[in-house]
């Protein structure tokens, strides 16, 4: 590694930054302000021609093979760079399964022989583009919504909240709602459902949602959309479905939990003197957060919850939200790209030599100390 770096010019500071999300992967280079590409986290199986999401693995070996194909595509189709002897920054969710992170490290170090790997927790690095060190971070992605308070550059892990209310849940709900007025919904691919969701649906206002929940709503819904499917088929997307498909985010489940309570519960678990600071520094990221009306509605829901007895002891009067200099779906990536061009890579990155010597990946819980100076 030092020898190679010394020869220089070939490698200088070309650091690939990868954020492998459940639905989409963000890939780019450190020091740049947007990812080069945002692609689906899936690979086409060469033998069967079947497209598989890399999280749908059967076992470690299967995942290894999926990741080998996936990383190959990332480097040779998008980054256009040889991975060997080059550093890489990986953005990782705090809830990333151990098998996934360990297999990914094995693929990068052993199969692609990267020289150095720096793993950064997404909830922490997303604050870098804002230059703040204390915030409540809500990440609404594909499989789950996760809220974690970050205080003085340290994620307060014991306060984390997660619920399976994110993109995937909306897709399921959309399918159910559409079945009532259309036929053959089950045969529609997940990506078409996503397209319908993205182009037709939105998060309605609190007032309208309350009206809808009544037995006889006294409002007119927004207009229905005729969505053309392949060939001559047309789907009818009723106005009510367009408005209310996201309601599952704000309906309390059996444990009385929903998107808004997650944030408040996370704040509750933090020291009293930090609570106001957190409520006035809310960062929302993840592709689902880009839905029209989502942030507005979440704000209203937060104020509504605040009035309930559950949160009376919070003593919060207002919420403030950050708007990062990025699209919500790559805020964490951008943070990683900023960290990636600092010396942190050489200071805290895991080198291939050490990985092969120690045969293990530092647990991210150990990394919190590593990152505390920022």
């Amino acid at each position: 590694m030092p020898l190679y770096e010394g020869i220089g010019a070939i490698t200088d500071k070309l650091v690939v930054v990868i954020d492998i999300g459940a639905a989409y992967t963000k890939l780019g280079f450190s020091g740049e302000f947007s990812p080069r590409c945002i692609i689906r986290s899936e690979v086409k199986c060469k033998d069967t021609g079947r497209v598989r999401n890399i999280r749908d693995y059967e076992n470690a070996q299967d995942l290894y093979d999926l990741l080998v194909d996936f990383v190959h595509m990332l480097y040779f189709k998008y980054a256009l760079l040889s991975p060997k002897d080059r550093p890489v920054v990986i953005i990782e969710s705090l809830l990333c399964p151990t098998i996934f992170r360990e297999t990914l490290a094995k693929v990068l170090f052993c199969h692609y022989e990267v020289s150095m790997m720096l793993v950064l927790p997404s909830h922490l690095v997303c604050l870098a583009p804002l230059a703040v060190d204390t915030a409540l971070v809500l990440d609404v992605g594909y499989t789950e919504a996760i809220a974690i308070p970050v205080c003085h550059g340290l994620p307060v892990i014991h306060a984390w909240q997660a619920l399976p209310i994110a993109s995937q849940a909306v897709h399921g709900n959309l399918k159910t709602l559409l079945t009532a007025c259309n036929t053959g919904i089950n045969s529609i691919s997940e990506w078409t459902i996503e397209d319908i969701k993205v182009r037709c649906c939105f998060v309605t206002t609190q007032k309208r949602a309350q009206e809808f929940s009544k037995a006889t709503p006294e409002i007119t819904t927004c207009l229905e959309v005729k969505y053309p499917l392949e060939g001559s088929r047309t789907l009818t997307i009723p106005g009510k479905v367009r408005e209310t498909v996201y309601e599952i985010f704000f309906e309390e489940d059996n444990d009385h939990q929903c998107m808004s309570t997650m944030i408040l519960d996370a704040i509750l678990k933090v020291n009293v003197d930090l609570r106001i600071k957190l409520s006035e520094n809310i960062v929302i990221m993840g592709g689902t957060a880009m839905t029209p009306g989502f942030k507005n509605r979440l704000k209203d829901e937060l104020y509504k919850q605040l009035k309930s007895d559950r949160y009376s002891k919070l003593k919060i009067t207002k919420f403030k939200f950050h708007s990062p200099p990025s699209k919500d779906n790559y805020t964490a990536w951008l943070g990683g790209a900023i960290y990636g061009c600092t010396e942190l890579l050489s200071m805290k990155g895991l080198s291939r030599e050490n990985y092969l010597k120690e045969n293990r990946l530092p647990d991210w819980a150990n990394m919190k100390d590593n990152l505390r100076t920022l």
Binding site: F33, A79, A131, E243, G293, K295, L374
Partner: protein
């Protein structure tokens, strides 16, 4: 020609344990081993634009963010955009001398999207000078990035300082508490004293300020009908990650992404097994150690109906692709990779990387592969030695036994001229007539006995395997070996014979 259209009824086992048709395998002449796309090291060789076929040096490609400066893709359907010319009237219609001007715009011939649709002004030159968009946050992000660089650098320097102090057995307050002086100062509200040896700290941008207001729900979503043609799809958004336009009038031409030519390198000996020519217009290779040029090819001619426990006849055709005569010997197949030299080296402890080992780059034990060319020695200065993958067990259910013939047979060298010679073969080869039933130039058909296992059910796929040993003539000349070296190479071949049929 079945392998060309991808049917893989005859598969060879790569050294790494993966089964592939011969068309997808490499043969490293230096290690004398089969390699495949999975177990070689891929490298980016050269960047080029797939539309204008311009070759870009990798430094330039990096500067241009891996995109062609002249070619554009359609933001709507992602096909290539064409530059179209239009004539506009003279600026001053009164002036009879004024000639009409030519202007250019971009048009997609597939979906008819045009740069005029989104109000991009027409250009007066063919090559464009099309407007580029800037990230509106770039300045602030640059400041933030510089700040982070500064903080981390400071931290690094302080750590080095601390390490020095430690060596002097000097204890400071910060050492005991474990937080850096700079953090401590910040906490108690003292200004940070810049270290005399450090450059003055860059001006720190203010932290972002959160607001009570958030994006409202656009009112028109509730009242106006949605025209799906005006709302972008997910693909259209994500192909421009920086902007992710929601409506079609915000689409913008996309610089075409470059493609790369790749070379493949054997991970054991660091020699290339495939290297394309640099010129993007050329489809030729500088190095092409494809297995189908070195290893006899096996094809299934015919097989009798397969019945459980019944022996049936299998005809296989062998052809020799090399310029040297070879002798084929059949050996039984074992599914475990008998790489004893590897298993000896691997330690027993259960670790994440026990499947891998760092190959010691010493001259290989195989004869004829001695010293390396000087170009490689040079390359090894910048390359770290590769990690070699420990082979995985072959994952194929072999459910039929092939009776291994005791006799061997000869395959003459390939002679392209003989293909057109109908005058009959003049070969003088003494064949075991029970084994070889037909031969012509470099090809021979052999008859084997195959017995599907007793416990198979009707409809089950029948796979059989054997090890093919052939004489390989290594023509690589080295300093110590001027003469071509003959050696025996073994490769496991698996044939998928079809499905089991009923008993009579």
């Amino acid at each position: 020609m079945s392998y060309i259209i991808g049917s893989d009824v005859v598969r060879y086992a790569c050294t790494c344990g993966i089964l592939k048709p011969i068309s997808k395998l490499y043969f490293c002449r230096h290690c004398l081993e089969v390699r495949c796309g999975f177990c070689v090291c891929h490298e980016v060789d050269s960047h080029f634009c797939g539309k204008c076929a311009e070759n870009l040096p990798s430094s330039e490609a990096r500067l241009k963010k891996n995109r062609c400066g002249n070619c554009y893709d359609c933001p709507s359907c992602h096909q290539q955009l064409t530059t179209r010319a239009a004539t506009v009237g003279p600026k001053n219609p009164e002036d009879p001398k004024a000639t009409p001007r030519k202007v250019f715009y971009l048009l997609c011939l597939l979906c008819r999207w045009s740069s005029r649709d989104v109000g991009i002004p027409d250009q007066s030159a063919v090559s464009g000078g099309w407007p580029e968009r800037e990230n509106i946050h770039a300045n602030r992000l640059q400041e933030i990035q510089d700040m982070y660089k500064g903080i981390v650098l400071l931290d690094k320097q302080q750590k080095l300082e601390k390490d020095k102090k430690k060596q002097r057995r000097y204890m400071s307050f910060t050492d005991r508490t474990g937080i850096t002086a700079s953090m401590l100062r910040k906490r108690v509200g003292l200004p940070d004293i810049p270290h005399p040896l450090l450059k003055p700290k860059p001006k720190e941008p203010e932290p972002a300020v959160a607001k009570e207001d958030v994006e409202e729900l656009p009112e028109e979503l509730l009242t106006k009908p949605v025209n799906l043609c005006e709302v972008t799809t997910m693909e259209q958004r994500l192909v421009q990650p920086e902007w992710q336009p929601i409506t079609v009038e915000k689409l913008f031409p996309i610089h075409k992404q470059l493609s790369v030519k790749r070379s493949q390198r054997c991970r054991s000996c660091e020699h290339n097994v495939s290297k394309p020519e640099y010129n993007p217009n050329s489809i030729k290779f500088k190095i092409q150690l494809f297995a189908c040029f070195h290893i006899p090819e096996v094809r299934i001619v015919t097989v009798e109906p397969l019945r459980a426990g019944k022996t049936c006849e299998l005809l296989l055709k062998f052809s020799n692709p090399t310029q040297h005569q070879t002798v084929i010997t059949f050996l039984p197949v074992t599914l475990e990779m008998e790489e004893t030299k590897i298993s000896e080296q691997v330690t027993e402890d259960k670790s994440v990387v026990d499947d891998y080992l760092l190959e010691k780059k010493q001259p290989l034990s195989l004869t004829g592969t001695g010293s390396q060319p000087s170009s490689l020695l040079h390359a090894s200065l910048s390359r770290q030695p590769s990690i070699t993958v420990k082979p995985r067990p072959i994952a194929v259910p072999v459910v039929a036994d092939i009776t291994i013939p005791t006799s061997t047979f000869i395959l003459p060298p390939r002679d392209d001229a003989a293909e057109y010679d109908d005058s009959g073969d003049t070969h003088n080869i003494q064949d075991d007539s029970k084994l070889v039933i037909w031969r012509k130039s470099n090809k021979a058909v052999v008859k084997l006995q195959v017995t599907p296992k007793e416990d198979l059910k009707i409809g089950d796929e029948v796979v059989a395997g054997f090890t093919m040993q052939h004489i390989y003539v290594n023509t690589i000349t080295t300093v110590d070996n001027k003469e071509p070296q003959k050696c025996e190479h073994k490769v496991k071949v698996f044939v998928t014979l079809g499905n089991l049929v009923g008993s009579e």
